[in-house]
Each structure stands twice: as structure tokens, then as C-alpha cells.
Symmetry: C2
Subunit: 426 residues, 2 copies
Amino acid sequence: MKKVGVALLGLGTVGGGTYEILVKNREYFRETLGLDVEVKAVLEKNLDRAKQLGVDLKIVSTDIADVVKNPDISIVAEFFGGIEPARTFLLEALKAGKSIVTANKELFSKHWYELEAAAKQTGAGLYFEASCVGGVPIIRTIEEGMQSNKIEQIKGIINGTTNYILTAMSDEGADYAAALKRAQELGYAEFDPTADVEGFDATYKISILSTLAYHKRVPVEAVKREGISKVDAVDIQIGKELGYTMKLLALSKNVNGKIEARVAPVFVPTSHPLASVKGSFNAVYLHGDSVDDIMLYGRGAGALPTGSAIVSDILFAAKQSEAKRYPYAEKGKSDLKEFDTDFVSKYYIRLKAADEEGTLAKITHVLGKENINIESVLQKKPISSDNAPIVFVTDKTAESNIKKAVEEIKNLGAVKEVDALYRVEE
Amino acid sequence: MKKVGVALLGLGTVGGGTYEILVKNREYFRETLGLDVEVKAVLEKNLDRAKQLGVDLKIVSTDIADVVKNPDISIVAEFFGGIEPARTFLLEALKAGKSIVTANKELFSKHWYELEAAAKQTGAGLYFEASCVGGVPIIRTIEEGMQSNKIEQIKGIINGTTNYILTAMSDEGADYAAALKRAQELGYAEFDPTADVEGFDATYKISILSTLAYHKRVPVEAVKREGISKVDAVDIQIGKELGYTMKLLALSKNVNGKIEARVAPVFVPTSHPLASVKGSFNAVYLHGDSVDDIMLYGRGAGALPTGSAIVSDILFAAKQSEAKRYPYAEKGKSDLKEFDTDFVSKYYIRLKAADEEGTLAKITHVLGKENINIESVLQKKPISSDNAPIVFVTDKTAESNIKKAVEEIKNLGAVKEVDALYRVEE
């Protein structure tokens, strides 16, 4: 039986979950895969945490040299998160010829070249399934299940915190502040929720997934980002009436080699499979040139789900012996150069207009001038106050057109304010 | 660059789709995977079909020896379907050391041992992603993405014909006959629809998926089977009112090593992700001990989606060089011996009762005697006719209990008939 020695760097939530799975299922992996996977070293300062998990303290250390110099260790799994010391430690492991497994999306999306170049020198493997969408094997699906396809589109609900908040706003009519507060109380959101609610976390993930899908490095900076902190509950409710559900989508499209990538609150039809992804669940919807539409759904976070992805990577790494490929080892070589900056989409516009005859006609005239067709109009009440809200859903149009039209609409005397502008993805 | 020679046995729908993908994406596979995959031989009698697809007639033959003896061919993909001649041809290919790729669920579910034993002798590979759920990489997910998990449950909508029919019955109120007729007109159902509507197709697939998930051969004969041809539209409508959607589920559970496997029309809560799988789409919902719930959704059939799975297998096979494992090569050795035959579930019961005082009390008394709790009761109208329908949804109970109770209820003088009994899965 093939023996596989593993080191765990850090015993936080996911590190602990990984240790638990490796111990409880060790015999199962021997039986089902013919692999005897043993944790040979753990890097952790907190000995109480190690004891609590039942780790033999003899294998616990705080010195990365104990991992790098141990010839019995072939795979190093990292759980620190953030850039340092994760980056330095993983580079040392790769230079020693050890394959690495990580959930560190920020490190991977920002330092991919450096890690891949180090791996290439020693023939080591890089595995990062856990960096995107927790337990859902989305990376394996792109790399080993859909590699026959040219992937044309990714639409992901890949941040559980924001999906929890938007679900509460949609299902219970809560406003943003109340939904965030509850998410914090339940542990779905951090005390400082910025990384999640402003979309940073999702940009790291869509950068990684888009790179794998389109075989071009899509850097984090290329991803347009808009969070959910400014979403007004009223638009979620009006959207529902129109048959749409609001989701924070991480979205990328490859249209004839031009790639668009962004994270933004977007309306999807309520009948779309993504609309039924509720609470902290995640899902990724892909379109390939052969397979058509496909969706993967599951838990995007948590000790055991993310640990499941880490351990699957460890087992996958342990089985590999074929020649590896390092397409991103040379900095800039595979970088995406051309970005689409004028995205085409349907749009949802909510505005306040004065109670004057002909207001609607003036607005539709502006839209018409920009060749924007209107799919539906919703006037919540008869125009009887100075603040009557009117909602338009347009046909597909370029972002530059809608922005130009919105500027003109704002200048119409009858329009008080344009309160909301969202994409509608079908 | 690694050169990979492929033979295609048959140019039917999926064979044609596979040829199309291999040709149109050949350059893409060279660039992205470093594999040069070329179709070196095609077995097909119909030369017109070959011409229509643009196949060079010089590589078309009707003699399997032209494939088996060609040293440039390392992978043989089969598209005949059914047992013979697929079985004989694939065994010859395996004996010649060629890896096989197939969508043939019937062959694989019935002759797995024989194929695996032949593969073991020469070290050839067996790939059958396309046999289950078309383009959805469910097998790769179980084997390479969730191998860190003990899988405890599979719930699949894995037959597009029946899902199309049930969706039409649910969304449009069509009855079974009308929905089947339209499915036939649109090409979603065969002229003789038995294999689909009576659940045979789904039993082959759940047999294969359960075997991979539980690491025990779950033979086709162990799968209890019930089709949809007797489903009454009235139950679908009443189910909707109660918050349930009817689906033909291929279902298997592993409870402490006891395995239940069946195909049956079942109610799922309308809020469940499986309920939103509409029309001819397929989905598989899995539960693993670490990853929790996960769902894969996509097209279960069609030339290009299924071709996508075939080509992904070809590319996967071409990359492999590790030692392969053959857990099912020895007949009977890994067979599942113990089957659960007394499944626990919630149940939906619809019956007709006479307009007599105390009827409801008599029925609930019978259920109570069998320790069956009632979750909800629905009486469509006040009992005013001899045919007033009453619907019960029970709490979880063993199948033997519910069957016993139903027999007793049938014998109550006040009960005219028990019209429907379905499981409710949550």
C-alpha cells in the first residue's frame, strides 16, 4: 500500500476539520483507494488546540524546517490564510519538492505565478480546490470533468455571507442592516464584514475560476467589483414582483476571447436554478460549448466541507504520477490582455418621478434614443405623489448605452432621482 | 506533445457528437492540455452518416480487428448501446490493452466484472462517465472530488424523459397520457417509452452510481423499481398545495452499511433544489459525511452534452499513468450482500372515504396503532359525497408499517379506496 505523509500548517477551523477527516476516514481511504495517508507533522503554536483535536504533541512544531526537511512528508496543506507567512512557507515546501494543498484564495489569486514557478522547478504539484466554493469540487470539474469544453460563461454564488444576507432580505423582507446583524450573530459574517459584503472574497475566487476556465490568467484587478452594502430592500421586493431574485453574482464571460469578469448584485429570473440557492449555500453555473449549462451546488465554507476539498486534493495529489503542466509559471506570459469593458446585459432601473403628464413618455424617449428597448414597466401606484417609483426592465444593451441614458434621464425635469440600476442576467 | 489515437465504435447521436467535439476542439486540447487527440478509426456501416460528419472514409471500417490491431490506437470509445456486439468488441479492445470509454449504462451495470477483469489483465483503463447523467461529471465528482467522503445518500433525477413528463404534469396540469404524447412528439420520449417511463434506464444508472459511492457492487436486481405510468395528475396537484413536487427519484442510501436502492415517483419539498430541476434537465443530490449536501445539475442526454463526457473521459484516460485499481474484477467479491428492504420515509396517502361521521378518527386510529404520526391532513372539500378525497402526509415510518396500515385502512367500511401511496423525501 502506498504510504503518504502529510503536514498541516495551522489547526484553525479548516485545518482542524481536515485533521478530523484524515483520522476518522484513514482506514476507509486504505480500503477504497489503497492509500495510507498519515499526518506526520503539524505547525501550530496553540498546543491546547492541538490537544483538543487529539493530535500527538510529538508531531507539533512551530518551525517550518521540521516540515521541509522531513523526507516522509510529500504533501503540505496550508491553513493560515492571508499572504504571509503562508507564501514563504509554501514556497519552501515546493522548493523541497513537496506538493502543496491550500484553501488560500487570496494567496493563490495574487501569487499564482510565483508558486507555479517554484513547483515547476521541482515537479511538485499545486492543488487548491478548497480555495473556491468550499466542499464543491468546482476546480476538479473544470479541470477533469469539463476539459472537453470551451467554457464560455461562469455565474457563481460563491460567497455564503452575502447570500445569507440577500436571502434574509428577500424571504423575510429584512433590510440590509438587520440582515447583516443577524448574519454576524449567527457567525455567517465577520465583525468587520468588508471582505465579504464588498465582494473582495468573491473577486479572488472568480479570478481563480476564470483563469482555469479560459486558460488565461484573469488577475484580481481585472475583476470589476460592487458589493451589497448599498442594496435597498425595496428593489429586492420589486424584483420579486417582476419575477427576479437578487444575488451577488461572481460573473465572467468569454466572448470570442474578450473576457468580462465582475462581482455585482444582479437579478436572475426566479425560475433560474441559481435563484433557489438560499442562505449560506453556494453554487456555480457554467456554460460550455459542448455540455451546455451545468450547475454545482453545495456548502461554500465550514470546517468539514472545506476540509473535504482539502482531503480530496491530498488524495488526488497522492495518486498522481503523470507529468505535470505549469501553464502559469512564467509571469505575464498567459496573462489576459484584453478585457471587455462594455458589458451587454438587460438592466433594472428604479427612479422617482414627479406627478406630471408625459413623464413616462419622456423617459422612454431617452431610452429609445440609445436604442434601448423596454421589456417591462412597473408603476407601484398611480402617480399621485412627488415620489412615485417607476421601475423599468430593459432588453439587452451595452453598459455604456444604459449609463448614458441614465445620465440623460437624471437631467429630465420630471425625474427626481435614479435610485437603483442593476443588471438582469438570464 | 503526447499523441493519442482514438477509435469510435458507431456514429450514432453521441458518437457523432463525440467526433464533432474531437475535431472542432483538437487545437484547443493541444494548447490547453498538451494532448494531440486524433480519431484513427471509426466502426460504422452507414457510409452516408460518416460522410455527413466529414469523416475520412479511409478510416471507416466494419471490422473490429482494424481497431484492435492498430497500434496507434490507445483508446476505444463505444456508442452502440445494448449488450452485443458492444460487449464482445470492448472485451477484445481491453485484451489488446486499449482503454475503453463508453456511455453504455446497461452493459456496464450488467457486465462490470467481466469488463474490469479483462482490463486488469492488460492494465487498461475503464471510463464510463457518459453512462450516467450525460454531460454532468457525476462519476468524476464521486471518484476524484468527493473521495474524501463516505457518501451516505444519492438522490437523482437521472432520466430526462420522465422529468419532462412530470414537469408538464406539474406546471401545466397535463395528464400522463397527454404529457407522454408531447414528449414523444418533441423527441424526448421513444415510440416505445417503457425503458424510460417504467424506470429501467434509471435503475442502470443508480446501480452504477451507488456502486461507486458505496464501494460495493449494487447490482441492478437490488434496485426496487417503480415507474411513472400510473401517476395520477391529481396527486401532483394536491402535492403542490401541500408544498411538494413529484419527481422520479433514483434514490440510494447507505445506513450503517445497509443499502437501500430504488427508483420511484417521490414527493420532494418544493423548496428543495431538486424540485427546481425542470423539463429534460437532470440533477444528482449527494450527501457525504464531510461535505454535507452537494448537487450537480445539467443535461442528461444529447449529442454534445454526452459527447462532452465521452471526450472528457478520453482526455482523462490520455493523461493517466498511475497504477490503476480494479476493485470489481473478481465476480461477487465486492458484491453487496445485505439490502435494506424496510425503508424509512414520510408517506403521502390519498384515499376516498364515505360521508360518515368519525371516518377521519377511524383512519387516524389505524395509523396510530402502527405508531405512524400524521404530519398533515388535507380534505379537499367538506365530506359531502361518497368520493371525498382525503390526503394524509405522515411522519417518518418504516415501509412495512405503512403497508400494514394501508391494508387495514382499505378494510375500513368507510373507506372506498386507497388511490395513491408515495414516499415523501426531504
